[in-house]
Each structure stands twice: as structure tokens, then as C-alpha cells.
Symmetry: C2
């Protein structure tokens, strides 16, 4: 079995793109009946859900409130937001199939207009700002079919989207916090390096020069305070506001746009959003900040898959461990190990699961083939830990653990579970 590890290492010298790894690990599939819409298969969904769970935890720290907003909206919403006209080619339209009740809807390409409706559903006071909405809704954009590829160019995707509605004097704090969140997250994913790019007022713009100057200087100060390296692209902002793009470099040195932080003077105006100020009037317009840390969750998955070449850290791994009984007489013990380590009861114990219990993805391979064959297959599938159990382990209540990297170790069943819990808590 030492041989096969070497084989495995040899194979991994070749750079694989996310589509190759995605197929190998059965993470996702695509079907011509819906081009550009990813089917996340069970193992891909495990990763996707973990990414969302991770982000939800961080959003709590940064005081975002998740919402679930609708997916179709009448044409008139998109006319108000400007998407119906400017985003025409990229939008799908929706209608009832009953001619009598037919209405024209747009399938949302972005969450922003829906969030404006939520903001606008109640009178807001300067005291309750900032309001920060997060949303993981599916988005649809009608990309040309020739451009569709893997997880990176798709028609249906999910963002870790967020919108902050704040007072002008809160912009700098919010930008600073957004950069901090990006930095926190990228550290966890060991993203080797990234650059912050500030794009400033273009020739065509809305709003006043004073608004722009104030916003840009807030962004510059937030960038300075971040301690990160940053650059300016003069005149490269959107017509509706300055922005900060975060470019991550993958292990090949290729840059991808992931996070973005974008000021918007326009949507609050188009939706006539206001808040009651200290002067007790509603003559105040909030600033809207669009921001995403992963950006497209699907594209972020692609970047991570390629960066780590499918070698998932334990916490994010869809295949955390597999237990292999050496012979038939070890199968029951292997099942016991599987159940105890995974935290997932089975059989007659398949009762309700405690709410806060940690669970792990632990498989078992008790097929009637040689140990060598099963080991090779488990290695190929990329399990973080392969646990072999035979007579000695059964007697001792242990598992012989073979980590994907590093030296083999023998641990008591309960200690394996605790070791997993501790590793995951540290994002290892």
C-alpha cells in the first residue's frame, strides 16, 4: 500500500482543472436539458452546504441578517431598477402558461431590487441603520450557450450576496468591516494572495462630485486602515458608484475576481428609499453597498478545487473517513466505529438526532475484495482518513488511521471522533 500512495502522489503532480476533479469526485453534473444550470451531486452539495454554513457563522459576527427573497418579480420592478432595459440580454422572462392570467415576470439575475423592497416595507430611522441583508438565493443570467463552462460560467448560480443600507457617515466603517470579513474568510481558505482594486469616478456618472469625493475618500481610508495592499484604477468605477474588487491569485498565478464591494447611489434613488434623520424628516437617502465575499459560490468552489487540487481539508471534505474491515469477522466492529465516529446513529438506534451534535461523513467498505484493492480505491477517492480494523483493533477498541498525508496512527474510537471535532473547530 506504500506503493499506491506514491502512485497517488505521482498523479497529483499533473494540474487538474475543476471539471476533471469535479467528475472524478462526482461533485456535480450538467445536463443539456438545462444548459448552464449545475446539478450539485451529493458530494458537491456537502461542500456547498458547508460553505454556506461557514459563511452564515461569519455573517453573525458581522451582524448581517439572512433573508429569503422571491425569485420572480413583475416586469415593473425590473423597469424601476433599470435591469429590464440595461440587462435585457442577460435576463430570463417568466410568464404563466394560462393565457388569461398571463403576466410578465423577470427571473432575478440579482437580489438587489428585492432587498430594496424589503428595506422600503417599513419607515426606517437613522437609529436602525445600517440594515444588512444577506441572501443565498439562486440567480439566473442568460449567458451565451457557447460561453458556458464547468462551475465558472453558468446560467444559474448562488452568491453569498449582501446589501448594506447605511447613512453616508457609516460608509467607511462598513467598508472596513467588509474588507475585514473578506480577509478573515480568505485566511481560512489559505488563499495565497489577493489584491484590492479601487475603481473611481468614471466620465459618465450620476450624483454629485461631492458625493463621489466623500465616498471615495471613505473607501481610501478604509483601504488604508485594512493594512492590505491596494491599487487604484482611476475612472473605472460604475456610473452609479465607486467599488473595490478583490482579485485572488490561484496556485497557477491566474487571477480571479471573487469578492466585490460596490457603492451604489442609484438604486436608493430609483426606489426612492429614505430614512428619518435626526432632524425628524424623511429627506434622507441611504447609501446602498453591494458586497459578496465568495462572489458566486459555484465559481468559488471551482477556485478552491483547483487551488487544493481536490485535496479537501477535513472540515470541508465530502469524504472525511472510510472504515475498512480486514475480514468478515471485523464488519460489525467496523460498523460500530463508523457509527461512533460519524455521530450518526443507524439501524434500530436511528432515532432523532440531537440538534447540536457534530457529524462526520464516514463511509464503510465491507465489500468482499482484497484489502489492497479497497485501500487503493479509498486513496483514489481522496478520503482524509482511512481506518483499517482487524483483530488487534477490535481487541483494543482502536482504529488504525491512515491520514491522506502524514504518518499512520492508531487511536481509540472515541479519540478519533474527538480528534475530528477539534480539527474541524480549527478549520483544519
Amino acid at each position: 500500500s506504500a506503493r499506491s500512495t506514491e502512485d497517488d502522489d505521482d498523479v497529483s503532480e499533473v494540474f487538474l482543472d475543476h471539471r476533471q476533479i469535479g467528475a472524478q469526485q462526482e461533485l456535480y453534473m450538467i445536463n443539456p436539458l438545462t444548459p448552464g444550470s449545475i446539478f450539485l451531486l451529493p458530494h458537491g452539495t456537502r461542500i456547498y452546504n458547508k460553505l454556506l454554513e461557514f459563511m452564515r457563522a461569519q455573517l453573525k459576527v458581522f451582524r448581517f441578517e439572512e433573508v429569503v427573497s422571491p425569485i420572480i418579480y413583475r416586469k415593473s420592478l425590473w423597469e424601476t431598477s433599470g435591469h429590464w432595459e440595461k440587462y435585457k440580454e442577460d435576463m430570463f422572462e417568466v410568464g404563466g402558461r394560462n393565457e388569461e392570467t398571463k403576466e410578465e415576470y423577470g427571473l432575478k439575475p440579482m437580489n438587489c431590487p428585492g432587498h430594496c423592497l424589503m428595506y422600503d416595507a417599513a419607515e426606517r430611522s437613522y437609529r436602525e441603520l445600517p440594515i444588512r441583508y444577506a441572501d443565498f438565493s439562486p440567480l439566473h443570467r442568460n449567458e451565451a450557450s457557447g460561453a458556458l463552462t464547468g462551475l465558472t460560467r453558468v446560467r444559474r448560480f448562488h452568491q453569498d450576496d449582501g446589501h448594506i443600507f447605511c447613512r453616508p457617515d457609516q460608509v467607511q466603517e462598513e467598508i472596513k468591516a467588509s474588507i475585514k470579513l473578506v480577509d478573515n474568510v480568505y485566511k481560512i481558505f489559505k488563499i495565497p494572495s489577493y489584491r484590492l482594486l479601487l475603481s473611481t469616478r468614471p466620465e459618465q456618472y450620476i450624483g454629485t462630485i461631492e458625493e463621489w469625493d466623500r465616498a471615495e475618500s471613505a473607501l481610501r481610508e478604509a483601504l488604508d486602515e485594512s493594512g492590505q495592499q491596494w491599487l487604484v484604477k482611476n475612472g473605472d468605477g460604475a456610473f452609479y458608484g465607486p467599488k473595490i474588487d478583490i482579485l485572488v491569485k490561484d496556485s497557477n498565478g491566474k487571477e480571479h475576481q471573487a469578492a466585490t464591494i460596490q457603492l451604489d447611489f442609484q438604486l436608493p434613488h430609483r426606489f426612492q428609499l429614505t430614512y428619518r434623520g435626526e432632524d425628524d424628516t424623511l429627506a434622507h437617502r441611504p447609501v446602498m453597498i453591494h458586497r459578496a465575499v465568495f462572489g458566486s459560490v459555484e465559481r468559488f468552489m471551482a477556485v478552491i478545487i483547483e487551488q487544493i487540487q481536490g485535496k479537501w481539508p477535513l472540515w470541508l471534505s465530502p469524504r472525511q473517513a472510510i472504515i475498512i474491515p480486514i475480514a468478515d469477522r471485523h464488519v460489525d466492529y467496523a460498523r460500530e466505529a463508523q457509527e461512533k465516529i460519524s455521530g450518526v446513529p443507524s439501524g434500530d438506534r436511528a432515532d432523532i438526532l440531537d440538534f447540536n451534535i457534530s457529524t462526520f461523513y464516514v463511509d464503510i467498505d465491507d465489500r468482499a475484495s482484497t484489502l489492497g484493492h479497497r485501500l487503493r480505491e479509498a486513496i483514489k477517492k481522496g478520503y482524509n482518513y482511512i481506518g483499517v480494523v482487524g483483530d488487534k483493533e477490535m481487541t483494543d477498541g482502536t482504529v488504525a488511521l491512515r491520514p491522506r498525508t502524514g504518518s499512520p496512527l492508531v487511536k481509540k474510537i472515541d479519540d478519533v471522533r474527538q480528534f475530528f471535532i477539534d480539527s474541524v473547530a480549527r478549520y483544519e
Copy 2:
């Protein structure tokens, strides 16, 4: 403040429907720009996410694998499934807005056809069955606008949907497990009583009498084994298979259809699904079981809201606790209590959150109004625990906790947190 509890109790004698409670607790909103599509507001999303998190835990025990499947599919998929014709009035159609590339899509009203594509993406062996997919995708059904109401009659909703592809000889085990899962879940939600209804072969049916007899007897045996009360509605099955409906009775004695377990001989046939049998041929057709435990998550929320009259148990509550400092000099201590009990760091400690840490929704009310006023407001909002802190608590490192029901108690900050963790683990 004893007065105000009584007031609160008086008010609760009046039965409120979920729309009233939903508005009072700011759980969701509706906007005419998208009739029948619910906007789950922050506090409603907390409940919704908790329900999904809860169900995901149970799905692990019952060996379902979650997937994320696409939302739009070409017309031809819906022709294969039969929905395009039979479900016409209820479906939304989707098209690109670019005339040149326009294609006809349907917005999915159900996940089943997409799951058939996933099943069919690889050759399946009798050994790997049952395959159990779970999916929480948004679904759209074009209900008549006059019928739309609250969370119960909507156009966009989410199911805790699941499809089991199994061999005929596995049907009974799968049905039995499905009933067990329903029972486990309903116990947690203290659903006072429910009835199981078996609907059998109607006059119009597909398949053979033998298939139906075998399936119905498998269902009967599973029902008998469940130990639950069950009834038969002869001839009331769908033309494509027998089913079990679970009717829950709310506190008013009104019955709602929630869970459903439905056998399907038709879709596997329409999609030409096969598996390789022990005889090494592909001449085997899996049975498909559609099942949902919550049913529509939105409707389930409505049932629960009315059943508990908005008095959420701690584990499911969107407002678990609020800390009220008696005077200005107690504000810092109140913040400390909030941070320690919630498990969510803030301010300079706003760093990455450990992955497995338990967090709670703990607010603070440090506004400059009287204690009585703040207490009354907190009671009205339905917090499970109101923690008051003053000089004595500050000195002792405690919080004076006032539960929504029961007697007040004083606890150390850390003990409050541990008490919350323990309560939630027991679904209290």
C-alpha cells in the same frame, strides 16, 4: 411588570392566525410585485433555516443525500415527465429575452424530473439501491391570484422534498423508515395527533394489478408495523401509484395535509430508468417514492405558528433572549452578557467564528426608556428569556432571567449559556 405578564396572557387567549402572528413578529412580508412569493424577513429566516438544519440532521440518520438541482428545464423535460400537458395551468414558462437565442423552459413545480435525470446520469446496480435524494429547492406553481393567502397558499415555496429510487423488494423497508421519520419529527414538534391515510388503486391506473397488489400490501405491512393508527381510502390513489397521506390536526381540531409518501410506477417508466440486477441485465425498473415530511416548509411554519401561537420553543425561537441593563452604568456589562451568552463575538473580537460553536439570538435593549417600558416591549416581542442586569448582577457576574413562562431565576452568565445549549440539544 407582573401586570404586563397578565396582559400578555389575556391577549394570548384569543386565537391568532399565522398571518397575524407573522406580522406581529415580523416573520415575513408579501409585495404585489410578486404575488404569492414570500419574502422571509430576518426573524422568519431564522426559523426557516433552523427547520432546514433540523431536517438535514434527521436526513443523515435516514441516509438521504441532499442535492441542489436546477430550477429551469427545457420544455422537452416536462413533456417527458407529463407535466407540460397535465400541469399546464400550474406551471410558469421561462424564455430568454434575446429573440435570437430564445428557448422554451419551464420553471419547476416539482423536483422529481430533475432527480430522475440525476439517477439516470450513471448506470445503477441493484447493490447501490436505494438511492435517496433530498432537495430544498424553491418550487413555483401558478396558483390563481384569488386563492393566495399567507404562508399556506403561495406560488413560490420550498419542500423538504425527497425521492427514493429502490427495488420492488425494498419498498416496504423504505415506507417503514419514512413513517418512522415522520413520527420522529412530529414528536419533536409536539404535533398533538395525526392520521395516516392509505389511498389504493383507482379505476384508472397504469401498471399491472400484480404490481399494485404487491405495492399496496407492502404499504399495509409497513403501516401495521408502524404501530400508528391508519385508515384506507379505497380507490383514492393516484393513477401512477398508491400513497400514504399524513393529516395533522391543529389545536383547533382542523386537519392539514403535511407529510406524504407516494409510490410512483410512472416516472421511472417515462424516464426509462433501469438498474443492473443480480442477473446482470439492465431489464430492471426501480420504483420511485416521493416523500416529504414537512411538506411545504412555508405551510408547515404556518401550522406550527398557529399551534404554538407564536410562542416558540427556545431551539426554534428567532428571539431567544434579550438583555436589559437597568441603568447606563450597566450597559457594558449587558454587552458582555450578550456576547458571552450568544457565543457571537463583536467589536474588536469580531474575528472568525469557530465552526462548531453554538450561537444564540441574544438582543440588547439599552435605550434610554424606563425599565418597565422595555420589559413590556420585550414580553410583547415574545423573547424566551429576558435578562435584566443591574448593580447586584454586575457584582455577582449573574443575569436575572425572566422566562416567558415559569418562575424567574438568577444564573451566572456562563451557566445561562450552558443552560441554553442543553435545552436546545433536547429540542426544548
